[in-house]
Symmetry: C2
Subunit: 218 residues, 2 copies
Amino acid sequence: MSNLGPGRPRLEQRSRRAETPRAEILDAAGELFTTKGYANTSTRAVADAVGIRQASLYHHFSSKDDILDALLAETIAGPVEFAQRLADETVAAAVRLYALALFDLGQLRTARWNLGALYLLPELRTERFEAFRRRRDELREHYERLAGESLSAASLSDEARVLPFRMVETMIGIRSDAGTAPADLDQVIADGIARVVGEAGDLTALRAEATALLARLT
Amino acid sequence: MSNLGPGRPRLEQRSRRAETPRAEILDAAGELFTTKGYANTSTRAVADAVGIRQASLYHHFSSKDDILDALLAETIAGPVEFAQRLADETVAAAVRLYALALFDLGQLRTARWNLGALYLLPELRTERFEAFRRRRDELREHYERLAGESLSAASLSDEARVLPFRMVETMIGIRSDAGTAPADLDQVIADGIARVVGEAGDLTALRAEATALLARLT
């Protein structure tokens, strides 16, 4: 707070609960980008919300795009890493797919800000965000591979392999519309994914195996 | 073009193919909002893209929000009306749900601009767009009712009733990521919805009934 000059009111009074200045900036930006909009938010507004000078913000991020890129990267890093860990497992693809969905859904539902709502920004289609797009494609490919294997094991054509990744991301729209999403939605969506890849019967065993796998790998 | 003053270049050279000035404004706004972003687009930029004066634009719309509201209303009006027509039909709920999904998916896929990408704008959570949100809720409830009936007919619990509406909207993200979406995606998503509401076997008959119903009602 000692950096807070006169005429520069702190917009957010409550603590940001973050451990480093960088994390505080990301938290403030996450709030402003998702509640006011990306284009409507200046780096000055982010600095004000943290209670630091704009010059201090530029010590951590050289532009607003850099802040957005860091926020977006955070939304993908966890599930990509988890998907890579799943690749070494030998349990059925449908179990691995269910576990990946649960992991990803939990993160999308409980993240402090609904950052996935930024995925549709036209800004993300520019060169600046190509690395992010590639990383998100990588996650999408993990889903499609697991979904394709699950469909094949169920003797179904693999057209539906594109759906599970998209179904997980429906959490973003539900959270955006309702302001929040109930914890049991994770299982509802993961069950839906299981149906789509050909699990027609009782899902109790699949859920239990996937939950155990998730617990073991996290 | 006679309204085009000096120093006001027409940004878009090609014809907007619209029949009325109002439709031309909506088309230009749809393009700019989805490619440059809503906050990044001024009514002046929309007027320039149409090749009219800003004052002429205000003859049709009193604000940028009014243009957005009109665009959003267009995305919902068709499927809501179709869902109302379906309510009078006596065929199985799963067939009506499949037909509604096909209708809605076709529109989302082929609309000139991917306007659904605007649904996550923070601006839409303001009072100004309450009527739109209510209208979209109405469409969501049509989906949930048909999905609930389908699940009940399949002797399944109705938790998954929230998924079909969201699965249809995955067309928006797919179009946004890839720039376009293949026509056969309509059936892939509608099939996925059928699986989620408990259609476990061959879907050929369901597809045929739903396609016939769609053709009869449109």
